[in-house]
C-alpha cells in the first residue's frame, strides 16, 4: 500500500490555485525541411499536410493531461523550421502565401501561435532570407497566429549590421501595417542574438537546424509561486538562503513540467525534447516578475538593486531546473516583458522603470528587451540602434538576447497601447532621441568578439 503526504498535496494545490502555477505551453516542434519544392503551391500543400498530420491530436492530448493532473496547460503551439529555408527552393518566392498556409494549419489544429516564420542571418543573408525578411510585415498583418523571429547576431559570428538595419525598418513597417491594432504586428516579431533552436515560447519559437524530425517541448512558468515562496521567508533571510528557496521551487516546477512533457510526448508517439522553465509573467495580478523584486525587498522594479535581484533570480531558477531534469533547454530563466507583467506596467507608468534600466536588466535576464512600446515616430534607424546595443550585450556575454519592441503608431510617450490576451497592454516609453543613423548605416558586420581575456 502506498501512502501520501497531506502537506505536499496542499502545497501543490495552492501553487496551482492561488499562485498561478501552470504549464505555459506545450509546443510541437516540427521539421519542415522535407517540404521544399520548386513550386510554392506544392510547398504550401506539403506544409499544411505535415502540420495537420503531426498536430491533429495536440490539443486533445493536452486536455487529457490537464484533466489527469489538474494543472492548467495554457497554450498549445507549434514551432517549425525557419521558413526562409523551406521557401527558398521555390522558383518564385511567395513567403506571404506560406505564412497564410501556416496560419490556416495552426487554426485547423486549434493552436493559438505558430513560430518559425523567420531566418538565421547572423553572418549574412541568402536570397531567400532577404525575401522572407521583406515579407514579414505583410505576413504578420495578414495572419493571426504567425510569430516571426530573425537571428541577427551570435557570439561566434558577430553582429550582422546589414540585417540589424533591415530589421529596424521591418519592425517599424510591421507596426505601421497593423496601426489599427496599436501595431500588434511588431509584438509578434523578435530579433535575436544566440537564439536557441528548441525554445517553446513565442514569439521566438522555431525548430532549429540540429533538431530531430519532431519533438515535444514544454514551457513551464510560475513567477507567482516564486514570489509566494520568497514572501514566506523572514525579511532578514540572507541571499544564500533566498537563492536556495528559489532553487527548491524551480525544482518542483520543472519536475512537474517534465512529467507533463514526457507523458504527452508518449501519448503523441513523438520524442520528448526539452523542458524550458521560464518565469514568464502574465497580466494577471500576482503572476508578476516585478512582484518577485518587491518580495526580495525592492520598493519597485527599476529601483537600484533590480539588476542584482534579477541576476540572482535568473541563476537560481536555472540551477533548480537543472537538478530536476537532464533536458532543460530553450530560454530557461526569467523573462521581463513589460506589457505582460502587471508590476512592470505599473513601474513603467510611474516612471520608476526606464528603457535604459530595462536594457541594463537584459544583461542578466534570460532574454532581452521584451514587449516594450515606444513612440510611433521613433526613426527606424533608432530602432536599429536599440537592436545593435541589445545584440552587443548578448554577443559579448555569450547569452541569448532579443528585442521585441513596438513603435506604436500615432502614440507618444505616456500614451497606452492595448493588445489584449497574453500580450497585455503597456505604457509607451521614452527612448533617447539622439540620432543613430550614421552609425547603423555603415553596413557590414561587427566582428565576433575574442573569447579569452574575459575582463
Amino acid at each position: 500500500m502506498t501512502s501520501f503526504n497531506a502537506d505536499s498535496i496542499l502545497e501543490t494545490i495552492d501553487m496551482i490555485r492561488v499562485h498561478h502555477l501552470d504549464i505555459r505551453t506545450v509546443t510541437l516542434a516540427l521539421s519542415l525541411r522535407d517540404c521544399c519544392d520548386s513550386d510554392v503551391k506544392a510547398v504550401g500543400d506539403k506544409i499544411y499536410n505535415k502540420i495537420t498530420k503531426y498536430a491533429k491530436n495536440l490539443t486533445s492530448m493536452a486536455q487529457e493531461i490537464e484533466d489527469a493532473y489538474s494543472i492548467p496547460i495554457i497554450n498549445k503551439r507549434i514551432s517549425v523550421t525557419p521558413i526562409s529555408l523551406v521557401g527558398e527552393s521555390c522558383k518564385d518566392y511567395d513567403y506571404v502565401y506560406l505564412a497564410k498556409v501556416l496560419d490556416k494549419a495552426a487554426q485547423d489544429v486549434g493552436v493559438n501561435f505558430i513560430g518559425g516564420f523567420g531566418a538565421l542571418v547572423e553572418k549574412g543573408c541568402t536570397r531567400g532570407d532577404e525575401a522572407l525578411i521583406e515579407s514579414i510585415p505583410e505576413a504578420l498583418a495578414k495572419t493571426e497566429r504567425i510569430c516571426s523571429s530573425v537571428n541577427v547576431a551570435s557570439s561566434k559570428a558577430g553582429i550582422n549590421m546589414d540585417a540589424v538595419l533591415k530589421m529596424g525598418r521591418t519592425i517599424k513597417k510591421a507596426a505601421d501595417l497593423t496601426a489599427d491594432r496599436d501595431g500588434i504586428g511588431a509584438a509578434k516579431l523578435v530579433c535575436f542574438c544566440n537564439v536557441p533552436g528548441d525554445n517553446p515560447f513565442m514569439a521566438g519559437a522555431f525548430h532549429g537546424y540540429g533538431e530531430p524530425e519532431c519533438a515535444l517541448n514544454v514551457g513551464v512558468s510560475g513567477p507567482g509561486v516564486v514570489r509566494a515562496a520568497i514572501e514566506s521567508l523572514p525579511k532578514n533571510t540572507s541571499f544564500g538562503e533566498m537563492a536556495n528557496k528559489i532553487k527548491q521551487i524551480a525544482y518542483k516546477i520543472t519536475s512537474t513540467g517534465e512529467l507533463v512533457g514526457r507523458e504527452m510526448a508518449q501519448k503523441m508517439g513523438i520524442p520528448f525534447g526539452i523542458i524550458d522553465l521560464s518565469l514568464a509573467p502574465t497580466p494577471e495580478i500576482g503572476d508578476s516578475v516585478a512582484g518577485i523584486f518587491q518580495a526580495m525587498g525592492l520598493e519597485h522594479a527599476g529601483a537600484h538593486g533590480t539588476t542584482a535581484a534579477l541576476a540572482m533570480l535568473n541563476d537560481a531558477v536555472k540551477k533548480g531546473g537543472i537538478m530536476a531534469s537532464s533536458h532543460v533547454g530553450g530560454l530557461s530563466g526569467a523573462f521581463i516583458p513589460v506589457s505582460e507583467d502587471a508590476g512592470m506596467i505599473e513601474a513603467a507608468e510611474k516612471g520608476c522603470l526606464t528603457f535604459d534600466k530595462l536594457e541594463a536588466m537584459t544583461s542578466v535576464c534570460s532574454v532581452g528587451l521584451d514587449m516594450i512600446a515606444i513612440p510611433g515616430d521613433t526613426p527606424s534607424d533608432t530602432i536599429s540602434g536599440i537592436i545593435a546595443d541589445e545584440m552587443a550585450i548578448g554577443m559579448i556575454n555569450k547569452k541569448t538576447t532579443a528585442v521585441r519592441i513596438i513603435p506604436a503608431p500615432d502614440k507618444k510617450a505616456g500614451d497606452k497601447v492595448v493588445f489584449g490576451g497574453l500580450l497585455g497592454e503597456a505604457p509607451v516609453m521614452n527612448v533617447n532621441t539622439l540620432s543613430s543613423t550614421n552609425f547603423v548605416q555603415r553596413g557590414g558586420r561587427i566582428p565576433a568578439p575574442i573569447h579569452s581575456l574575459n575582463n
Binding site: 502506498t2 501520501f4 501543490t12 494545490i13 489527469a68 525544482y251 518542483k252 519536475s255 512537474t256 517534465e258
Partner: protein
C-alpha cells in the same frame, strides 16, 4: 500472478482532495461514488484547517471499469452537490514534485 511495474502501479493511484465547510455525510458520499466506480480506497486523512474541513483520499483505479475522466466527473458532481471543492489528480504529480 502477473507482475505490475512500479510505474504502472503508480499510474493507477489517484489523490482526491475535498475541502469546504464541514457537514454530515461528506465521507459517506465521496466513498460511495468511489465504491460505485470500483475505486479502492487505500488511505484517508482528514483535518480541520482554518475552520475548513479538508480530506485526502488515496485511491487505486486499477479495477475501475470507467476511465479516469469519468470517475473525476462523477466525483466533481458529488462535490457540487456537497458544496465542497474537490480536486482529483493522478498521484504522480505529487511524487514527481516533492521527491528527489
Amino acid at each position: 500472478m502477473e507482475q505490475t511495474s512500479p510505474e504502472k502501479r503508480s499510474e493507477n493511484k489517484i489523490i482526491i482532495t475535498v475541502s469546504g465547510v464541514d457537514r454530515i455525510g461528506i465521507v459517506a458520499k465521496v466513498a460511495n461514488v468511489l465504491a460505485d466506480n470500483r475505486v479502492n480506497i487505500e488511505d484517508i486523512k482528514q483535518t480541520i484547517m482554518q475552520d475548513y474541513f479538508v480530506m485526502f483520499l488515496l485511491g487505486d483505479i486499477s479495477q475501475a471499469e470507467k476511465s479516469f475522466k469519468e470517475i473525476k466527473e462523477a466525483l466533481q458532481k458529488a462535490g457540487e452537490e456537497l458544496q465542497m471543492e474537490i480536486w482529483v489528480q493522478k498521484k504522480q504529480i505529487f511524487d514527481k514534485m516533492h521527491t528527489i
